[in-house]
């Protein structure tokens, strides 16, 4: 018996690879890169989960998905029960399965990963959601008795949609207000089609609408309607603010207003929300650079670089002032970018842009950097090397060096406290702001972060809003 057990252990199932489009093929199209598991591969992968008594993975998840639970149901082939289990904690599993940084959350603490590769939790989550979308019954989650309370959710990104999903289930009336003409926030305007097909986001929003959530687009809170008017004139009992960061950072160096320099926000909004990659079939144009530089090193940088590639660039270079170790982008995103032929110019910092008489970008002057002592962020500070100036040619530059707090809503709401950087002060446990009846979460509180952290903030705020609507402030 003992011998048999040892033998069984040796025949460990390897982590099931995710099939992907070939790099040369996908670098010229906008279709999704990973193709998804089949039911057979998903069930095989699910077998690798040890069903730990004290699962570390759940603690690693900002919304505490019952990871062993939903994986066990996949192993048993009960995909419907699996997605129901996921929905009980996560209203956007198709999104999270694709864009969550599992490698620093649930998968990094997976026991199977101590010796070998961790269970592919993200791929399995994505499978359960995709299977339900393709084959599911379309049945809705249960909804509590109606309370007659009205909640406005400002912003339809990941945190807003999480709040809407949680509160509609608890029997409240929920309206989501979106400034753009389409709901989804960063999931739609920011994350490219090849990483998160927009159809998936719209189906997630539609799923919320079928549960009773009202979605009102073209509503700019702070302009079309003020926060106070939502209470006084429109009769809301509580408001959740999840508007995202939404203010592009530039380098503030000479020549930054040359034609051909765009914020990542603008570039990606044109490509994703406006579908400008289909121009002239759609009316919104997008600059198609042949020789493109993307500044920054985060996920948005990788998204911009890979978009430029797909729009026909011969050469795409990421220019970053620190080294590879400090790059904030997910390893998988950097890997995907490299596979697609994106080059990295590290320890390089632009000091000015160069242009021609037509006001169009032709290149930039850069300085070489070296790493010095750690700064406030704990990362080693890049220090310029004297006399190391050199020129890089380019005809398009995407500035993807982060975002600040957009003041549109907060400026029109003077009685809500902000921090020194203009982000909203909110209790980290409840999301309560200093203004009665108003909660906030996601990037407008924390500064630019991830989809799942915004969803985690939304979950906590929804619990707190529910308590308030039941018991008071």
């Amino acid at each position: 018996m003992a011998e048999k057990a040892v033998k069984a252990k040796k025949e460990k199932i390897p982590r099931q690879p995710m099939p992907e489009q070939e790099p040369q093929v996908r670098a010229r199209n906008f279709e999704e890169v990973p193709l998804g598991y089949t039911p057979e591969t998903a069930m095989e992968e699910a077998k690798r989960c040890l069903q730990c008594k004290k699962p570390a993975c759940i603690a690693g998840c900002p919304v505490e998905v019952d990871i062993p639970g939903f994986i066990k149901l996949i192993k048993e082939g009960d995909f419907t029960a699996s997605i129901r289990n996921l929905w009980s904690k996560n209203s956007l599993p198709a999104v999270c399965g694709r864009v969550c940084p599992q490698e620093i959350q649930c998968e990094v603490v997976c026991i199977v990963g101590k010796k070998g590769d961790p269970v592919a939790i993200g791929n399995l989550e994505r499978f359960a959601a995709d299977y339900e979308r393709a084959h599911g019954s379309g049945a809705l989650p249960p909804r509590a008795k109606l309370t007659g309370k009205k909640v406005a959710v400002v912003g339809s990104g990941p945190s807003g949609l999480t709040v809407a999903g949680d509160l509609i289930a608890k029997g409240h009336e929920v309206t989501v207000l979106e400034a753009f003409h389409k709901p989804g926030g960063v999931l739609v305007y920011g994350i490219p089609e090849f990483r998160l097909p927009k159809e998936i986001v719209f189906q997630e929003v539609n799923f919320l609408e079928r549960q009773g959530v009202k979605v009102e687009c073209n509503a700019v809170v702070g302009r079309t309607v003020s926060l106070d008017e939502l209470f006084v004139e429109e009769g809301y009992d509580a408001v959740y603010i999840g508007v995202g960061a939404g203010l592009p950072r530039f380098l503030n160096i000479p020549g930054e207003n040359l034609i051909g320099i765009l914020s990542a926000n603008e570039y990606l909004t044109r490509a994703n929300l406006m579908k400008a990659y289909m121009f002239p079939e759609v009316d919104t144009p997008i600059p198609r650079g042949k020789n493109v530089i993307v500044l920054g090193a985060g996920n948005v940088t990788m998204d911009s670089a890979r978009t430029a590639r797909r729009l026909g660039a011969d050469k795409v270079r990421v220019v970053y002032r620190r080294s590879r170790d400090e790059m904030p982008a997910r390893t998988a995103e950097i890997h995907h970018a490299e596979e697609e032929g994106i080059e990295f110019f590290l320890l390089t910092n632009p000091t000015k842009y160069l242009g021609n008489e037509q006001g169009r970008l032709t290149g930039m002057v850069c300085l070489k950097m070296e790493l010095g002592e750690p700064d406030d962020s704990g990362r080693r500070r890049p220090v310029p090397i004297q006399g190391s100036e050199f020129e890089l040619e380019c005809d398009l530059c995407i500035v993807a060096v982060g975002s600040g707090a957009n003041p549109l809503l907060t400026q029109s709401t003077p009685d809500m406290q902000l921090n020194n950087w203009g982000y909203i002060e909110a209790d980290p446990e409840t999301g309560k702001t200093t203004k009665k009846g108003v909660w906030a979460g996601g990037d407008i509180v924390t500064g630019a972060a991830t989809v799942i952290l915004a969803m985690g903030a939304g979950r906590k705020a929804a619990d707190s809003i529910h308590q308030y609507l039941t018991w008071g402030w």
């Binding site: 400034a179 753009f180 003409h181 687009c217 073209n218 509503a219 700019v220 302009r223 079309t224 309607v225 939404g246 203010l247 592009p248 530039f250 503030n252 930054e256 207003n257 034609i259 051909g260 765009l262 914020s263 926000n265 603008e266 909004t269 044109r270 406006m274 579908k275 121009f279 002239p280 079939e281 759609v282 009316d283 919104t284 144009p285 600059p287 037509q358 006001g359 957009n406 003041p407 549109l408």
Partner: protein, 280 residues
């Protein structure tokens, strides 16, 4: 959906007026603010400063010139048709104060934008001299409305077919020479605003201009509408659209407006092949 309840062609069909149902925007909008319109699913987001708002009937009025595919597409919309999306009111409203003698200079479709500002300044207790200009008589718009909104209306046409022959700057110079002008507001093509501002700077008269650069979201999120004002980068959508005319870098603005000229031409030419009757 935002239904068109009134449509009027002006200036020999090169300019179109639409009154559109948008009750929430109409209730909030103030002179000087703009909206973003999108005709259909594939459409582009086009910013236009409002020419009129009617809070009681819940409508806003826009006046646009056919300059490319998107405005030509707008022109195809008839009474009863709808814009798929209208977003606003966006931007900061005009600061209406009692200043004294104000000259309002409007050129082209800028006259339509100038009109509610002129009227508000008049209602605010200012003495208004309005100067409007166009290339030729048949292209002049809203003459009657501007007459009512001002105390004195001066008309200029480049070819002399109506009113005074020449540019608005020449008429403006005569007014400024009287020496009692406290403020000038100029709205029209960028070169017009540039030369008006250059002239008023010589006279030391405060000047406000309204800018309409290329933008996407209109809420400060994309930064596409960057303009240099007083050496600093501003976003026209949230910091403007009105700025101190003496401090705007017009040359940069004119270049930036050309960013997509080739794409625009291609798109417009394709459209004209399909619908020649809507070409400019």
């Amino acid at each position: 959906m935002f239904k068109i309840i009134k449509r009027e062609e002006m200036a020999e069909g090169t300019v179109v007026l639409n009154e559109v149902e948008a009750p929430k925007i109409a209730r909030k909008a103030k002179p000087g603010q703009f909206v973003i319109l999108k005709a259909n699913e594939e459409g582009e987001r086009i910013p236009l400063t409002m020419a009129e708002t009617d809070p009681e009937n819940g409508t806003i009025t826009i006046v646009y010139m056919i300059v490319g595919k998107s405005t030509a597409l707008f022109k195809t919309l008839q009474v009863g048709d709808s814009y798929q999306d209208v977003i606003g009111p966006l931007g900061k409203p005009t600061e209406i104060e009692k200043i004294g003698n104000v000259v309002c200079v409007g050129g082209g479709t800028g006259i339509a934008v100038m009109h509610p500002i002129t009227r508000a300044l008049k209602e605010g207790g200012n003495h208004i001299t309005a100067i409007v200009g166009s290339r030729t008589k048949d292209l002049l718009i809203l003459e009657e409305k501007m007459k009512q909104a001002s105390h004195e209306l001066l008309i200029c046409t480049d070819d002399g077919s109506y009113g005074r022959e020449g540019f608005v700057t020449e008429a403006l110079k005569d007014v400024l020479d009287k020496g009692d002008t406290q403020m000038v507001v100029a709205i029209g093509p960028v070169p017009m605003m540039k030369f008006v501002s250059k002239m008023t700077a010589e006279y030391g008269v405060k000047t406000i201009v309204s800018l309409n650069p290329i933008m996407v979201d209109g809420t400060g999120m994309c930064g596409g509408c960057r303009v240099t004002v007083n050496g600093q980068t501003k976003f026209a959508c949230v910091d403007g659209p009105e700025f101190d005319g003496h401090k705007v870098d017009y040359d940069e603005l004119m270049l930036r407006l050309q960013a997509y000229c080739e794409d625009e031409k291609r798109c417009y030419d394709d459209f004209c092949l399909l619908k020649p009757e809507y070409a400019r």
